[in-house]
């Protein structure tokens, strides 16, 4: 790849672009990621022939901006996912949210847990959940039915998810205890144990398809990371409303790190925990 000239971004331009991206996409760029943003902007400025950050900002605000923003988001979000990606979220689920839901459902005598990874890509997030819950089969989740559903619009990644074979990058964050139990290495490939796979089903689903979305019912946890950032506000509201409807009254909805639903849905309430937050009805 040709080396782009990286123009240092001023604090003012950084704030302009950060606020623009936040307001349109709902993703917040932390100041610690300034240099990362700078280098990715350089690629887009090179591709569009724009010379300054201020001009690039004007381009984003122009009628051509909608299309350009999609390219920019592709540059600044890493599409590759991996196991145990959002550790604060997983800790919150294990420490508090899961025990809380289990208690509520135990009282009702309804021992079934449903989890949805709503942009499951190659399946890492859904399988991470499966591993964590599998560890609780002898204790908290004894005699519980566990259903984990992964959906994605892209059939290729759905097929990959079903296969359950990964590269070193995907598995690098898996704690040793889980890795020893549920991952087998074979010739540089990392193969997921069948006992994990059996908890998860994967399907193709377009989050924008109302006729399908209304059937995704009664989930206790819904995860949807780094997808809503691609939708415009109206589409975002529509999709989030489906998540809202499909979530149990005591359930939790999670978005990605640095994402925000502010201004998208005013019914969800934030529940905070160390390093993150979730949404609740």
């Amino acid at each position: 790849m040709a080396k782009e000239l990286i123009v240092a971004i001023s604090d003012k331009d950084f704030e302009l672009l950060r606020d623009f991206i936040y307001n349109i996409c709902g993703m917040y760029f932390h100041i610690s990621k300034k240099y990362f943003l700078e280098s990715r902007l350089a690629r887009r400025m090179d591709a569009t022939g724009v010379k300054t950050h201020a001009d690039y900002y004007l381009l984003l605000k122009s009628p051509r901006g909608t299309e350009e923003l999609k390219y920019l988001m592709d540059e600044i979000t890493t599409n590759e996912t991996y196991f145990f990606r959002n550790v604060p979220q997983l800790n919150a689920m294990e420490n508090k949210l899961l025990p809380e839901i289990v208690e509520a459902k135990n009282k009702m005598g309804f021992r079934k847990l449903r989890i949805w990874s709503a942009a499951s890509s190659s399946g890492e997030e859904a399988y991470t959940m499966a591993m964590i819950l599998l560890e609780k089969r002898a204790t908290l989740l004894k005699d519980w039915i566990i259903e984990i559903v992964g959906t994605d619009i892209n059939e290729t990644v759905v097929a990959q998810a079903k296969e359950g074979v990964y590269n070193a990058y995907s598995v690098r964050n898996i704690p040793d205890m889980y890795k020893r139990k549920y991952i087998r290495e074979d010739n540089g490939k990392f193969i997921l144990a069948p006992e994990v796979k059996k908890f998860v089903t994967f399907n193709k689903l377009n989050l924008y398809d109302d006729s399908k979305m209304i059937f995704m019912k009664s989930f206790d946890f819904i995860f949807c990371a780094n997808v809503l950032i691609y939708f415009d506000t109206a589409s975002k509201s529509k999709v989030v409303q489906h998540f809202y409807n499909n979530l149990q009254p005591y359930g939790y909805f999670f978005v990605g790190q640095s994402e925000s639903l502010h201004g998208v849905n005013d019914k969800f309430k934030t529940v905070h925990f160390p390093g993150g937050f979730a949404y609740k009805k």
Partner: protein, 298 residues
């Protein structure tokens, strides 16, 4: 348990400690001077300048991006004019508190403790500004001193306090609840007793006592609610004592949120998510301030 019982128990606990830290000499003289009628700012400034450490700390606390003064404060006298006489007392007391516990916070890493305290000071001031609370300096100072009782337990009841911390590790349990189980009282009431011993103004004593239950406050429930919320936010955004307490809260169900919402209905429009992310961005400022106050390496 009733608050009065908790305070009674805290009084007994504090009374048993023989080597309680005292207010440094110069700070004490400043406080006495402030008690005199018709005191001039120049007199106070001259006296404070005889304590270089106190002067440097006051300047650092006010000149940091954490506090965000409207313009740079270049001299102590300007700082005192900027703050007004009414805040000098608290500032002298706050620097005394820092001096008393600067080398050792017992069970805690001292840096973690002060980063949390200044973090809560900063966030209290931000919330105060957002809602239009009249005295942002008061919110800042209240935040800095709110956990006076924690540093007491950590220093003078070190082993028992370590046991409390161990027992709550990674559990969604409130530190104050666990303290009551072990000590019969919590850092809120203990801090309240210490603050009274040191003659902190009543409103600050109340914040220390009620920073976990603002509904109990009588003098300034709004201030208590501000510090309570700031404390919660710092607890979930890396200014959390190095993760010693696993904090979790549903913002809309928090009494502090309801107290503030009632007084300032426009708070309903707060972009909570962005507020958290901006707080993450401000963490390096807090760390820099703490390291500069203690002259440790930045």
């Amino acid at each position: 348990m009733e608050k009065t019982q908790l305070i009674e128990k805290a009084e007994q606990l504090v009374a048993k400690i023989e080597d309680l830290p005292t207010i440094p000499a110069v700070a004490n003289q400043v406080l006495q001077l402030l008690d005199q009628p018709d005191v001039e700012i120049e007199q106070v400034a001259d006296l404070m300048l005889s304590d270089q450490v106190m002067t440097a700390r006051v300047m650092k606390m006010l000149n940091s991006p954490v506090y965000k003064p409207a313009s740079e404060i270049t001299s102590l006298k300007r700082a005192l004019v900027y703050l007004g006489l009414r805040h000098i007392r608290e500032l002298a007391l706050t620097t005394s508190f820092i001096s008393a516990f600067e080398h050792d916070a017992g069970a805690f890493n001292i840096t973690d403790f002060w980063e949390h305290s200044f973090g809560v000071g900063m966030v209290s001031k931000i919330i105060a500004a957002k809602v239009g609370y009249r005295d942002q300096e008061k919110a800042y100072i209240s935040g800095i001193i709110h956990d006076l009782g924690v540093v007491f337990l950590s220093t003078f009841k070190r082993d028992d306090f370590l046991a409390v911390l161990d027992s709550i590790k990674d559990r969604p349990v409130k530190l104050a609840d666990e303290e009551i189980k072990i000590f019969g009282t919590s850092h809120c009431e203990i801090g309240f007793c210490m603050a009274r011993k040191w003659n902190f103004p009543d409103v600050y004593c109340e914040v220390i006592a009620c920073h976990h239950d603002p509904e109990q406050a009588a003098i300034d429930p709004i201030l208590c609610a501000i510090v309570n919320l700031a404390d919660l936010f710092c607890g979930v955004r890396e200014l959390n004592y190095g993760g010693r307490e696993w904090v979790s809260f549903n913002l809309y169900e928090e009494p502090a949120w309801q107290v503030l919402r009632k007084e300032y209905p426009e708070l309903a429009n707060l972009d909570v998510e962005r507020f958290c992310y901006e707080l993450d961005d401000a963490i390096p400022d807090v760390k820099n301030l703490v390291s500069s106050i203690f002259n440790t390496n930045p």
